[in-house]
Amino acid sequence: MTTPTKGVRRSRYGAVGALLAPFLVLFTACTLIPIGYALYLSLYTERSSGLGFGGAETVFTGLSNYTRALGDEAFRAGFLTTAQYCLLYIPLMVGLSLLLALLLDSALARARRFFQLALFLPHAVPGIIAALIWMYLYTPGISPVISALDAVGSHPDLLGSPLPAVVNIALWEWTGYNMVIFYAALQAIPREVLEAAVVDGAGPLRTALNIKIPLIRASLTMVGLFTLIGSLQLFTEPMILHGVSPGVISTWTPNMYAYTAAFERGDYGLAAASSVLLALTAAALSFVVTRLGRGRAGKRTEVTG
């Protein structure tokens, strides 16, 4: 390698700047500045002066928007709903997609390409349309599912229990997508490792539990992380069920709370504070998940090493 002369180095920095600038400018404008602005907004409250004709004045109110949000029963209820949703949805989705990936990866599976495509296809359906389809399938009269269940004598009220209804929509949208991620990771496991397990007499179940799953831990962590962040932002699906399912009120999730605060009540300070709280929760939980993933992986290398 020849040491680059000063001129070459300068032209390289020029190239770096030219290549990175478009992304960094957009990233700053559409991510960093909005974050800063949300923080700023959350510290101010708009008070309409007098009769309301003089316009509103913005007053610095410190953390009062945060205490207002946290003190609001509806906001806390939204967080509770999201927590319940995460506890029901994430284990189900990760378990199901992992199971399907392992089945597809087993030597017994046929038509792998077809199954991969067919299971992935719901990802091509916009969330709003997925929610619409399922809303129709939940609606008595329209839904063939309900007529079939009626025929066998059970009369379920699918719209009456919003949490499972929303979890099912999310499962439909995301199981196949994450199955493909797990399947790709499983396919990347070196064949020698698996052959060694077979030679050692491990059956398919033991190979899956003791060898395959530990080896795709990185994928599990990543899927867990993205699923968690996505789940915290729950909005589209309940927005469609809102108005049809009496349980889904306009502040059902923290995101719906922020939306309602901003666009129905015009309370931007409160909306910003609740968005910031949501983002902080996401950051804290992402930290925990990555630590868990890394911590376990670290322990494993210690044991084997």
Partner: protein
Amino acid sequence: MTTLLSPPRPSVSETERQRPRRPWSLSKTAVNGTLLLATAYTLLPLGWLVTASAKNTGDLIGGRALTPDRWNLGANLSALAEAGDGIYFRWYLNSLLYAGIGAVLCAFVCVCAGYAFHVYAFPGKEKVFGLVLLGVLVPTTALALPMYLLASELHLVNTFWAVFLPSLVNPFGVYLARVFCAGYVPGEVLEAARMDGAGELRTFWSIGLKMVMPGFVTVFLFQFTAIWNNFFLPLVMLSDNRLFPVSLGLYSWNAQTRAFPEYYPLVVIGSLLAVVPLVVAFVALQRHWKAGLTAGSVK
């Protein structure tokens, strides 16, 4: 080591014979049956959407099964074309513009940045890249409200740009592009181009970009889907329904179905048409989305 310590194992043929007797052992029928069941779960709702699109309002709301003599697809399509002076196809065109142009530009911006991160060493590189990765974790919906307020200061609310510009940013795309560059762009080729006296940007344009094309298509595909599916940002930004993308348009129609049941078939057939381009893209570009999900998962 283990081979020496472990007790003598039965020969392979013996284990083969024993296997079906084990209670937890998997049979071919069970494996493929489970996969088929899961496929039924993912495909049947889409099948319902297809048949529902050919029903008239009464049959749709009444849940009557579709029979050939009650085939109403043509009438539904013409009702869709007439509703609100063909507003649906305007939404469709908007979606194609937002998603098509947006995804091409986004993929280009991501590949430029990913290439720079892969090829060059510069001070603070990994710190900047770490910041980009943190951007992946920011809940996008938390950004929509401040973006709306910023856009209203700049008088951009309720314009094409309010939805278009934010959709050009995808930190995960930069990450993917860097992974793809590491796989597709060997350093020696670039070195050879430099020896030939090609400038840095010229090398990128004529060599690097071509080599990383599969990565470009992958980022494009995922971003196209993301923009096509985006609902929250247009909902916040747009009030003029002539600027709506399909997702928001269908949402606004769905809100009317209570008062006007004749909107039901419009929502259903509109949904079907909105799904078609993505399904076609994903069937046609299987190699690319699989590559994207692999690159995202293995690293």
